[in-house]
Point group: C2
DNA sequence: GATTTAAGTTCTACCATCAAACTTATCTGA
DNA sequence: TCAGATAAGTTTGATGGTAGAACTTAAATC
């Protein structure tokens, strides 16, 4: 899902990564504008025009002209830096703070709308309980919530909106099915207002959470660019991130870690298979094994197990065992040896880490050369909404020319 | 492995797919040359200069000028087409047949060298038994064999050589480890002659077989661009192809389908884990279960089972069961629902197809909406060598400008 | 206050593409 | 047989974006 387009420097490319359309003079400019914005967003310290010229391999003249246009349009901001040495002082550039995107999220229990700026900062946020009714009613409520957030964004350049949904998404638009909401074949953008004339883009919530995990700030890579993201809540979902990109698969349904087979002789799963990971690591299974109420699992299971509660210790051991089998298979197949644990697994991570790492070490083929790394996910229950906004902001970084006034003559 | 670079229209991009280096006038030309060559290679019917101009969105003038340069350099050939209607007759273009690449392959039992032209045709081939000795001795033998094949290629433009090896490859160069050969940390290109001043590029044999499966002719997509390729020979290997590209993973070790866990309570595997697919679908396991000699498994197992031999039928059932569990997990995670069966599985495919398809249908999450497709691999034991040559030919398609005379003034 | 250093700007040259007119080669039909 | 139609390919000058080099600006240093 989330179909992060394989953005290229200039021109369209086929799925195989070869150019299918020729490039012209103007694409040259567009692609250099994109390179400039990407460089500014990716940089830890705000670069000057001269820095950009050097790092991108263009002349200062060209870098300066392009940067001026971007500053003029508000896509970049100029900041002042305290002088550090001789020479004319630089005018460093940072991502434009007037640029914001809306991130919408539909979950099983609430609606959430966030506004995030190009620097990745949360500008506004509003939540509401899930309205009663069908997809139309719920999305009408979401549209209303989004409108109210937009009210408070006067003076900003609202570049678009993204939506996170708990289901399979095709083509960044169609929600094919969302079992937990009971929806199928919903054309989500059709129910939402356009922003600056642009339709909302749609993504799967687990994928969007992984986007933020991979890139905590739009356009700037996080510490890990290749990892498997497992999110356990009621069900178990996940995403595979490779080279900073979420792997979406043929029909946008990749990342179904919950239904990797842990034990073919294990319990039946409603999906039709047997011994799926979800039957061991899902909330229901953990509650049953530990004797805890479902809402206490995330907070109490680890602590109780550490205190010596035998049922909790047993539940934690089964969790670790089942995760190790499923994750080892995934790691062997996709060749990625970093794992991010999300949902209630994030809170249990301190109690799981050593045992799970040890078990993975035994089952992962390349672990002798490259040990498996484990990390808890960001502790933000609304990440998916942020990820949805990032989806739009990444588009701005990829093709900033769209947002420039087309002055011809 | 096989690190197929995510080739872009113009300029370099980061792993995240954003431009890191600006593009200049000359990149424009380079990228349009590449687009032209790619279009000619991808086309079923040879396109004229006017066809190319229309499909790429450039003027006939530009298309013509670029095409002339490519024809001049031998990268494209002009053919004559019988006239079909009024107007000046077109001079259709096809990939240049003088352009050939060498594909080398080291296997556990033999050396193989092929020469393949830009149209994907096998031009020459020579095989030799595996020489005694260490990596140096074996690669010296391979170099000698390559030299002898090159002798017969006078008048051709030999653009480079690729090498297929049965092991993990890093950076298209270093053979990290090859258990079946007992090699590790071998800098393969260092032992081989350069071709036109270019070092050989190295890839994993399973990945290279998948490359040919995805693109039977260089630059022209085959029927499937997203599939899981399982190859069972002595061991069980594989590759995941997504969007026509082989998924290589963080360290080039992706695609280890042989060590996906089928049953955690299953037999121990030398890899340190338990119940790996290789313990069920590997040649040794099949021979033991069926009572057949290892070399007869591929040819006889299916026939004997169909004739009613109970041990063979049992062995086939276990094979199908174990494949279904492992493949279902892979398909759920990477979201790809096409499977190509290679090695001895290709020959067994007719006997496996129905039962395996049925089992997968039950275990794969999205199979109700998108049934899993099964297909046997190409019946060519030397595909890997062809794939190695393709690796080089794809580079020519991606950046043909490298092969043009640099006329400046 | 002269000198050094480096950022940013201005100007001309270059080069690849575009647009449009032009040439060439074949078919069509009287 | 030959003019007309049709479409491929070519030539010409214009356009637009970057390169290169000289120039201006602003601060630190001595």
């Amino acid at each position: 899902m989330t179909a992060q387009q394989p953005a290229t420097a200039a021109g369209q490319t086929s799925p195989r990564g070869r150019a299918t359309v020729a490039v012209r003079q103007s694409s040259l400019r567009e692609s250099n504008l994109a390179a400039l914005v990407a460089a500014v967003c990716a940089s830890e310290v705000p670069p000057s025009r001269a820095d950009l010229a050097a790092s991108l391999g263009i002349t200062r003249a060209t870098a300066s002209r392009l940067a001026d246009e971007l500053v003029e349009a508000g896509l970049l901001d100029e900041v002042t830096r305290e002088q550090v040495g001789p020479g004319r002082p630089a005018r460093p550039l940072v991502p434009g703070e007037r640029v914001v995107a809306l991130g919408l999220s539909v979950d099983v229990d609430q609606l959430l709308v966030r506004a995030v700026d190009l620097r990745g900062r949360l500008v506004a946020e509003r939540a509401a309980p899930l309205p009663e009714g069908d997809a139309g009613a719920v999305l009408a409520g979401l549209a209303e919530l989004a409108r109210s957030v937009r009210q408070g964004l006067r003076g900003r350049i609202v570049v678009g909106s993204g939506v996170a949904v708990p289901g399979v998404v095709a083509d960044r638009r169609l929600l094919v099915r969302a079992p937990n909401l009971g929806w199928s074949e919903v054309d989500v953008p059709a129910h939402l207002p356009t922003v600056s004339g642009r339709r909302a883009v749609v993504g799967n919530e687990a994928d969007l959470a992984a986007v933020v995990e991979a890139e905590p700030v739009p356009g700037r890579a996080g510490p890990w660019s290749d990892f498997v993201h497992v999110t356990a809540r009621v069900g178990v979902g996940g995403a595979v991130v490779s080279g900073g990109q979420v792997v979406v698969g043929e029909h946008g349904a990749a990342g179904e870690l919950g239904h990797v087979c842990v034990d073919p002789h294990g319990p039946r799963c409603p999906c039709g298979s047997t011994g799926c990971l979800e039957r061991y690591a899902g909330l229901e299974a953990l509650a049953a094994a530990s004797g805890l109420a479902p809402e206490r699992v995330a907070t109490d299971l680890g602590v109780r197990a550490a205190e010596g509660d035998p049922r909790c210790a047993e539940a934690l051991a089964i969790l670790s065992w089942s995760l190790s089998i499923a994750l080892a298979s995934v790691v062997n197949v996709v060749g990625i040896s970093s794992v991010v644990l999300g949902g209630h697994l994030a809170q249990l991570e301190p109690f799981l880490h050593d045992d799970l790492a040890h078990r993975l070490q035994q089952r992962v083929l390349g672990s002798r050369w490259d040990p498996v790394r484990l990390r808890p996910a960001l502790a933000d229950p609304g990440v998916a909404a942020t990820g949805a906004a990032f989806l739009v902001l990444e588009d701005v970084i990829t093709s900033p020319a769209t947002w420039l006034p087309t002055v011809r003559g």
